[in-house]
Amino acid sequence: MDQPATNPTIAKVNKGLKRRYRAERRFRLTGATAIFTALCFLFLLFFSIVSSGYKAFQKTFIQIDVFFDPVEFTNENLATANFPGLVKSSLNAMFPEVTVRSDKKDLYYLVSSGASFQLMDLVKNNPAIIGKTQQIWVAANDDVDMLLKGNIDRSRPEAERRVNDKQLIWIDKLTADGKIKKTFNTGFFKSGDSREPEMAGIWGATCGSFYTLLITLSLSFPIGVAAAVYLEEFAPKNRWTDIIEVNINNLAAVPSIVYGLLGLAVFINFFGMPRSTPVVGGLVLTLMTLPIIIIASRASLKSVPPSIREAALGIGASKMQTVTHHVLPLAMPGMLTGTIIGMAHALGETAPLLMVGMVAFIVDVPHGVTDPATVLPVQIYLWSDSPERAFVEKTSAAIMVLLAFLFFMNAAAVFLRKRFEIKW
């Protein structure tokens, strides 16, 4: 400073300088604190979900020796054999000291009811197994699973435990003999929903989500892009287009359950489409995603400089050629980003699907767009409502899978944008 105190303006400025710097520091500190608090909450969210869900990726199995007695398989249809009986006799053979009927019931309870279906599949795939004895690892009951994962307190009095004292003795014996193990739960990713927590998986919901999003993408992307191109490039600028623009912007903010009601009234009641199918769910989500895609596409088209259009027209391209050969490819990265974000939003929706019947217990894995199906967020909601203790960890594990999908989709959007974005 050449003239420190002589200039009255500079003197005034210098006096307030300290206060200004302090205000700026306060503002920066507030911003940093806000971000820090948000990160803390985010960390808390992830920590609570992961800590309650990571155990679901392990499943408890019990090894039993099963004798596939040929006497049981006299019928042509191998599936009608008494597989639960085979499981029971193998358990009886392993614990011959158990004779009282109520004790036997407690013993059979240790193995999941899905074990008999496991044996049924084994026999169907390999009928040569009949007559032989095999050591098979079958799923343990969800209460045994909870005990081994530490969710059932052994020190509690017997009446308050789901596993009684006798069962504890048998489980300890199995552990000592090495006939109980915990391995990675592939069944979680391969099976559909079930009322038995140990047999329940997310594959059915994942397929349902896939088909629903397939319909949503294949409908909303072309229609959204075409609508944006028309509104931006071809439509005359008059009152009608203004009204349309206002309406599209408002539709993006409409609560999603309204689209569900619309879907119920129009698609199910009027067109008579089947309830609970990905077709209807996809159509409802299309209606919901369209405004988002149209707005993102229009913004992206607006960002292409007019010089491109003028240059194309200048060398003799028609209006249609200008748009499709020059403007659209340049606007495509922004449109793709908007679409992926819209899809990620649609993946997490539950409320609109409630009205069209996709909040339902569906065991069979869907194989097409017209099979009844449910989606991942709905599966999470249904499991969170079930009383069995083992569903708590499964709910958190399903949330982790859903978050992983969403994270991946958003990361793909960011990557695509960075890669293909053209800075003017």
Binding site: R161, R162, R195, A226, G272, M273, T370, D385, P387, R389
Partner: protein, 349 residues
């Protein structure tokens, strides 16, 4: 770009055509209705799907009222075949069914469900009578000073209601008005408790509207907290707040016996045996209703009914009892099974 748009639209048009054809030939059973019966219906459906060649039925939990609305909208593949209910069908709902062409309905009673008033194991067990429950939770109660007048509920602690109860604040977490569990709780616990007052008992015949308002309205001043339909959430909240009580079905008490304990109502503990014997007073029957017109059109309905009414499902040792449903007495089971086999239509009086 243009060709792919044409291809996409042709594909979608094809799918639309295909889907309407599909709707014409639905090959799985469609079930809607009560969220209380839902856990039991789903178990039977899964068993049925796994052990037979039929497709697993699809079950939606819409609530008893919502289920009847869908069920009674007509006959045809676009309407559900079966509706679950945590109460018997009302006359008005039956009339709607008849008006819309659903003429023959088969009523199937499947068992009982106990409703418990539970609190955290960290606190002492509550010993309540239904009169206590009414006085603690109703919107308007008889004047504590005496006489036949009704005043807004003045009781703040359980000790105010009954000197033998602890001096903790009345805080009850329960289902919202849309829930069938709430309807059943109000009818079984509060209404019966209210009738112990002679003037309220007489009110039933004299002034039906006032009777309903007295016995069935729950207080809204914060002592009764609507905790949503998610009973798991209520259990968790009871863990966090040892002074609160929660209202939910017996199956949740069964699965969480290490964290919560059921209150003793009029001397009876909420156990499996007491509810089955009818000793525990707060229990209600569970039903489902079948459209007779759909029985041979949608494949598998007869076999599904057979599975549900078999001893291995609803018997004393059946898998539904494992899930927390209380079975009916043997004689009653036999009678219902017989009626179901003949598909005896329901007649309302």
């Amino acid at each position: 770009m243009k060709k792919s748009i044409l291809l996409a639209s042709a594909l979608i048009a094809g799918m639309f055509a295909g889907s309407s054809a599909q709707a014409a030939g639905r090959d799985y059973i469609s079930i809607v209705g009560s969220s209380t019966v839902y856990p039991f219906s789903t178990v039977v459906a899964e068993q049925f799907g796994k052990t037979t060649n039929f497709k697993t039925p699809k079950i939606e939990s819409t609530g008893t009222g919502g289920g009847f609305k869908l069920f009674c909208s007509g006959v045809g593949v676009e309407n559900p075949d079966i509706t679950n209910a945590s109460r018997a069908i009302k006359q008005s709902e039956f009339d709607t069914c008849q008006a819309n062409g659903v003429k023959e309905i088969v009523e199937v009673k499947i068992g009982y469900d106990g409703i418990v008033l539970a609190n955290s194991k960290k606190s002492a067990i509550f010993k309540l009578s239904r009169k206590d429950i009414f006085l603690a939770l109703a919107k308007n109660v008889p004047d504590p000073k005496g006489g036949d007048k009704l005043v807004p509920n003045p009781y703040k602690t359980w000790k105010d209601v009954n000197p033998e109860l602890p001096a903790t604040k009345i805080e009850v977490l329960g289902p919202p008005p849309t829930s069938g569990t709430r309807d059943a709780f109000v009818e079984l616990a509060m209404e019966t408790g209210a009738k112990t007052f002679p003037f309220i008992h007489d009110m039933e015949k004299k002034n039906k509207d006032m009777y309903k308002a007295t016995t069935q309205m729950v207080r809204e001043d914060g002592a009764y907290i609507e905790a949503g339909e998610n009973d798991n959430l209520i259990v968790q909240k009871l863990e966090a707040n040892p002074n609160a009580l929660g209202i939910f079905g017996f199956s949740f008490l069964d699965q969480n016996a290490d964290m919560v304990q059921g209150s003793v109502v009029e001397g009876e503990e909420p156990t499996f045996e007491n509810i089955a014997d009818g000793k525990y007073p707060v229990s209600r029957p569970l039903f489902f209703y079948v459209k007779k017109a759909h029985v041979d059109v949608i494949p598998g309905i007869r076999e599904f009914l057979g599975e549900f009414t078999s001893e291995k499902a609803w018997g004393n040792e059946g898998y539904l009892a494992d899930k927390g449903m209380i079975p009916m007495p043997q004689q009653e089971r036999n009678l219902v099974a017989q009626d179901v086999k003949e598909l005896k239509p329901l007649t309302m009086k």
